[in-house]
Symmetry: C2
Subunit: 152 residues, 2 copies
DNA sequence: GATGATTATTAGCCTTGTCTAACTTGTCGC
DNA sequence: GCGACAAGTTAGACAAGGCTAATAATCATC
């Protein structure tokens, strides 16, 4: 056994699909994309709880710029994934896991924002770009952003 | 006519939905998200044509890290949207519009990548982060990135 | 404590983007 | 020119994420 591999020069990693270096990058981006919505939601929910004491779907809908049914369906997925808890017709709470994710997202958001501002970007554009960029910044990049923003 | 607006102090923009400032940011990000895939595809197709003289679905699939049927369906949408042309069982071509978008994406990608590298990021991480970040960078931010990368 | 407005949910539709399985076409060697 | 194998397409499933329309619960307020 264990002698039927690489007749030529492949089958080294136990990865899924060939995985050309570029393909890996795209797969990573697709992975990040799958978490964007959850990240934005838990971040917003944490903020609403902090500011208003509670997070109500109507407020989430307003701040996210989507309709109430969209929020309801998304909250269903977040609950399924263990990030929030909720009772019918009541406001939303973060689980421990949700709180941890929210904290992480808030920090990341803040670092990316500070970084863009320190580059000289106007606040509105910075906020808008940060909202998109934050989900695609690796730990390593984030560290560089933080360092740059600090020394500025 | 035209006298039934703003009883209090609203209805100023002919926008869709209230649009709290944050909501606008999220809507902008969602908009950007809708174009990500098309951008990555036309960029890759342009590159394949440049390097190999033609862009074949099998190569697109490998480089994007997805299966052939996924590519087929996506190419269908790109054709519908006027970015490419194709004949059955033949390779893919960019329309004028597709070429214009590809050029823009290539430039953006290159600037974001150079910027990350000039910050001190390793090439692999830089490539990966650039692949995600490029779609969420405004013109203004891009200009700052380019300036920073140049003076470095 | 009835009732009307606000908030929340449910049902159902649509598009995108991914996959597997099965089939068709094209191409290259002989 | 034929046959294998590679490449491409089609069919169909499924989840996410958006929407509208209709229904249900909550709450304020009288
Ligand atoms: Mn965001
Ligand atoms: Mn954010
Ligand atoms: Mn990309
Ligand atoms: Mn790119």
């Amino acid at each position: 056994m264990m002698a039927d591999d690489h007749t030529e020069a492949e089958a080294l990693e136990p990865e899924a699909r060939p995985a050309d270096p570029r393909a890996e990058a795209f797969q990573g981006v697709r992975e990040a994309r799958r978490n964007e919505l959850a990240e934005d939601y838990v971040e917003l929910i944490a903020e609403l709880i902090h500011e208003h004491g509670e997070a109500r779907p109507v407020e989430i809908a307003t701040k996210m710029g989507v309709t109430a049914p969209t929020v309801a369906k998304t909250l269903g997925r977040l609950a399924r994934d263990g990030l929030i808890t909720r009772a019918k017709y009541r406001s939303v709470f973060l689980t421990e896991e949700g709180r941890a994710l929210a904290r992480e997202c808030q920090q990341r958001h803040e670092i990316v924002l500070r970084f863009l501002l320190s580059l000289g970007l106007d606040p509105e554009t910075a906020e808008r770009d940060a909202e998109g960029i934050e989900h695609h910044v690796s730990e390593r990049t984030l560290a560089l952003f933080a360092a740059f923003a600090d020394r500025s």
